[in-house]
Symmetry: C2
Subunit: 86 residues, 2 copies
């Protein structure tokens, strides 16, 4: 037995990481998802909190692809619906 360091995001204390960079990425993803969720609920009034959160987490997990799509290249999103591509 030994003491060891684990990392977690305060936004999701259940999820522990051995790697600090991974914990950082998880925290950034959740930060974006939380902000998205607030904005989508405000902008699309009859969207439920649960749907807003699911959509937001999904997009935040694929942040780079959505960044490209919004910036200039909607076709970038095809990477998400073509199973062969990753």
């Amino acid at each position: 037995m030994a003491v060891e360091i684990v990392y977690r995001s305060s936004r999701d204390p259940e999820q522990l990481f051995m790697d600090k960079a991974e914990a950082d990425r998880h925290d950034k993803m959740l930060e974006l998802a939380e902000t998205l969720s607030v904005v989508l609920q405000a902008g699309v009034p009859d969207l439920s909190e649960r749907h807003a959160e699911e959509v937001s987490i999904y997009m935040a997990r694929h942040r780079d692809i959505f960044a490209k799509a919004f910036k200039s290249t909607p076709e970038a999103l095809q990477a998400l619906t073509e199973p062969a591509t990753e």
Copy 2:
């Protein structure tokens, strides 16, 4: 009476524009929204088609702000919930 040129996006034939650049912007917005809607319905299985479309149109209308948020700056989204800012 005279003949005049009006412009429209084939994605939304009801909406006519006197200005070609405006029609182009409308078409680009709808193109992004359509692609987003397909991806969100695939990625968030219990999201209804109507909700996927509403979320997608909302985000496509504010494309520049979402581009910033996904790229690096989630706080950019605050511009959408602070009524004074536009």
